[in-house]
Symmetry: C2
């Protein structure tokens, strides 16, 4: 049902290659920017994109790391992630570039863009919300909640975070801190916490990473996906 096409683009001299996963009809639709995990664009996010296409949305799976890192080993990718995380202002420019890229695609309905991210990508989705970007929603799946240390802006987007309570990278006090941060920023927000669930719970291959506290959880994956789709219906139902 979907049609994938690679989009090559460049940001501050780096060559990137994102994937647009769209309905075959090519019509402009509400569109999700999907920001991958530390491993970059993979079948996981492209698969989520195809599920979204079946529901009437389009998706752009964003490459943040660069074409040269496609398929790179885990250690390399963690190094690249830490490089991007170490300068959140520069990371935000990169995210704004992806947002502009998405806005420029003919299959993207103007003003109907939401951003969803996984792990590191969840942090990126939150950073766009924090920047005051004009998007419909920012959605984090087992994302990192670390604040960017940039000046606070008024949020123009709804926020939803799906969180495994046992995520070793995001302890309970960070959940409370995010609740406070989002409240102070005036955002419409919701956080769904799942018991006995760790980091990376949407990824069927998470357990292969063999990192303590990182594991797939089919029930949390299903619950968060259902709540995600409910939110998209809330946002876009009249436009779908």
């Amino acid at each position: 049902m979907s049609k994938d096409r690679a989009i090559t683009h460049s940001f501050e001299g780096e060559q990137l290659e994102s994937v647009f996963v769209g309905r075959r009809d090519g019509q402009a639709r509400p569109t999700l920017i999907l920001i991958p995990t530390v491993m970059g664009v993979s079948d996981l996010e492209i698969g989520f994109g195809r599920q979204l296409v079946e529901l009437g949305y389009n998706a752009l799976v964003a490459d943040l790391f660069g074409k040269e890192f496609h398929g790179a080993p885990r250690d390399t990718m963690f190094g690249e992630m830490n490089r991007l995380k170490s300068d959140r202002a520069a990371l935000l420019r990169r995210l704004e570039h992806v947002l502009e890229l998405t806005r420029g695609q003919p299959e993207v309905q103007a003003g109907q863009i939401a951003v969803a991210g996984y792990c590191f990508g969840g942090m990126c989705a939150l950073d766009l919300a924090r920047s005051g970007a004009e998007i419909s929603a920012s959605i984090s799946f087992h994302g990192l909640f670390d604040p960017p240390g940039l000046p606070a802006r008024k949020y123009k987007t709804k926020v939803a975070a799906f969180h495994g309570w046992d995520d070793p990278m995001v302890p309970p006090e960070r959940v409370v801190a995010l609740g406070q941060e989002l409240t102070e920023a005036g955002a419409d927000w919701q956080i769904h916490a799942y018991g006995h669930v760790g980091h990376g719970f949407t990824n069927p291959h998470a357990s292969k990473l063999q990192i303590e506290g990182v594991a797939y959880n089919a029930l949390a994956a299903e619950r968060s996906w259902t709540s995600f789709i409910n939110l998209l219906e809330e946002l876009f139902a009249e436009h779908g």
Copy 2:
């Protein structure tokens, strides 16, 4: 579509009157026990019961306070609630009585009972889960999270709590404590927290109470209802 009937019952010498809201066909179905707010059985919970009937469930709206308190003023009801809250072991016996009552109704499918409560009733739903009661799920809408101070038992039920982050009766540290309590008890749990939402958010008349931090919130009411129904489908889809 629904057919209501009053059920009179007695507990330790008190006369109670609950309301069974069932489909007209009288067939045994998965059933929700709905435990009302401090105000006791009201059109609010009966209305939720009717919505459940439209979705293929039956509902029993439980009277915990006694027939003589139907329609009593707010101050009287708060006094009665505090009386029940002051002895959580006795309150649990009362809840177990309601569970037995429900099991005895011909329209109730054996082994297919979930308990959902509002405010004080949310605490009651959690108390049943904490007691190790054999129910399918315990669901709290803007419930109180205060632990009962009774010996911990192994949970036999899934738990879902829908919570307004600005609820003055349940500050963030109580949310964290509930997460820890449910994790230690081994329960399958989820807590959905909503920003800028207070206590009583499912009740369109909550703001009439004129209590600081108590207010209806249409969006949180809709989101929590949708997640509630999703959970019921997860529990009962094969039986519906």
